[in-house]
């Protein structure tokens, strides 16, 4: 029933939980960086923390892209949907 209404998809439950756990941690890390800025913590320590958040978000991004390709993209290519390729290339181009 879902998947078509309002541009939603049936995302695998395990992946969903994995993503939410990672995003919760990232939210906490961002809050931590705010605290470091407020407390005037030494710049290089702040940069290390920012670096950790960047890696964490990159991982989330890769997970979502991987799932996207394995599910939506494959399904739509099999249905000869040309637009999905253009959309995918645009998104990968932005990510690179």
């Amino acid at each position: 029933m879902a998947g078509e209404l309002n541009n939603t998809v049936d995302r695998d439950q395990k992946l969903k939980e994995n993503l939410l756990k990672r995003l919760n941690r990232i939210e906490g890390q961002v809050r931590g960086i705010k605290g470091m800025v407020e407390k005037d913590i030494y710049c290089d320590d702040v940069l290390q923390q920012i670096s950790a958040v960047q890696s964490a978000i990159d991982s989330v991004s890769k997970l979502v892209l991987e799932n996207h390709i394995r599910t939506c993209v494959v399904t739509k290519i099999k249905k000869d949907d040309q637009e999905i390729i253009d959309e995918l290339l645009k998104t990968i181009g932005k990510m690179l």
Copy 2:
């Protein structure tokens, strides 16, 4: 008084407010992505949002690095502190 105790620095007040405003927005964006995952929003839309967060964090990172170089690094180089160079190169190496 600050600046030496507990590895803190005297960060410019304007920069501090700028960083906190950006970090607050990033925190909100991350929460937004969590909502998108929970509501099974289409992957490509999630990827766009993640991309926006990545750009936002990159900007914060550049701002902190720029301030770091202009203040701590310059001051310490003038005091012949060799370690600051090693630390800076390690951090830039990680960022690249």
Copy 3:
């Protein structure tokens, strides 16, 4: 006749010429950087030149990936080839 022997593909002639032209220019740029290093040109000028080569190679990489997805990947997905997805995700993962 080509396309299967020795792991080759029928690459579009126009794309091929485009890629070769870009790669020739990159080869020339790399030779130019060697000359700069030999003549002890100022580091920041060398870094600018290296930056230009990096952009040029990134463009070649994107062009090849785009063509790869539009041709090989789409064709193989339609033939239910699962391995092509794994290979693609590994390659994109490396590129990101």
Copy 4:
């Protein structure tokens, strides 16, 4: 005598040889990719090769930046040259 005429620097001889060796190898790799394109080698194999060149150039870039910071930048900061900081930040900004 050098170092000021024609915007050159006294680059360490060992670093120079190291850089030239790396750049020679990169030039050879680029020529190799041209050969792959000419012979219609499979896209994913070409992408692997491009990826190797990108890593190799990134390493050259880091080496030059590191040497630049350790020598020119430090020397000029000690002479209270403000422009070197602006130039460095612009270059790092481009590299990030």
